[in-house]
Symmetry: C2
Amino acid sequence: MDAYKAIVTKRDTRSYTAEPVSEEVLRRLAQAGRMAGSSKNRQPVRFVVIVDKENMADLAKCGDFAEPLGPATAAIAVCLNPEGMDFDAGRAAQNIMVAAWNEGLASCPVRIHHEDCGRESLGLPDGWRISMVIALGHPDPNVPMSLGRGRKPYDDYVQWERWSGEEEGS
Amino acid sequence: MDAYKAIVTKRDTRSYTAEPVSEEVLRRLAQAGRMAGSSKNRQPVRFVVIVDKENMADLAKCGDFAEPLGPATAAIAVCLNPEGMDFDAGRAAQNIMVAAWNEGLASCPVRIHHEDCGRESLGLPDGWRISMVIALGHPDPNVPMSLGRGRKPYDDYVQWERWSGEEEGS
């Protein structure tokens, strides 16, 4: 798929079929995440790829809204070292999700609110944490993608040279 | 360009020619950023597109390592509302940078270390901040892309089911 098309048509989606995601595809997604740049090329991000349903259920207990991990057939935990910035984790995660969409896979970020729980679930070293978990799967064709998940108007999002918008509320 | 190819070949690059980036392309890049998902679809991210060299120089004073804004012919400030997370800013920024690469444009994130300075430079409302500025331009063909900016080995980056790597140091 053309890169621009993949980027602008990707929607966060949490309904998946039972069809598994192949290891080959998961390896490609992790490579997409690995190639994201990072501040000073410090490479603070690591990935733990999960396909075992028990492991996914264990990790889901560490987030307050981790329902997407129920139907997901794979997940990639985006982990950060002690100095890592969530901005860099977001870059890597977006690479993974756009690459997934390019393979026809749906995805949704899942936040792990309870850091110690998440660290223990994955066996992360001290000081490391999970920035976000990406739930993955083949999209359920019976569920419309991100129904109602529109975007605010372009001119609210984008301004030129200097801020001239209203102070939120739009 | 194929989405996967655009994702894995994009390198953060800070050497640009003097050729301007067209408004049409900048609008497309902002649209790529706008279409990035966000936590609960809260859409905490806004963009300020800058092409005026004086405005860019003014903003560059607010970062400790803002040299890429010197030769850049355009910049997009990725701004966050008071509740916004840098993870979501990173998603939007990566969309912008991969879409830029898809247009043959190079880019590099520039951190604005001095928040008040950045807020004042762009005239952001109270509580808003700049998560990152994306420097943009046509790549200088005389400068190799990200020379030496390699990545740690794949197996250091990616683990399966559970953390089994060494505690950093690799």
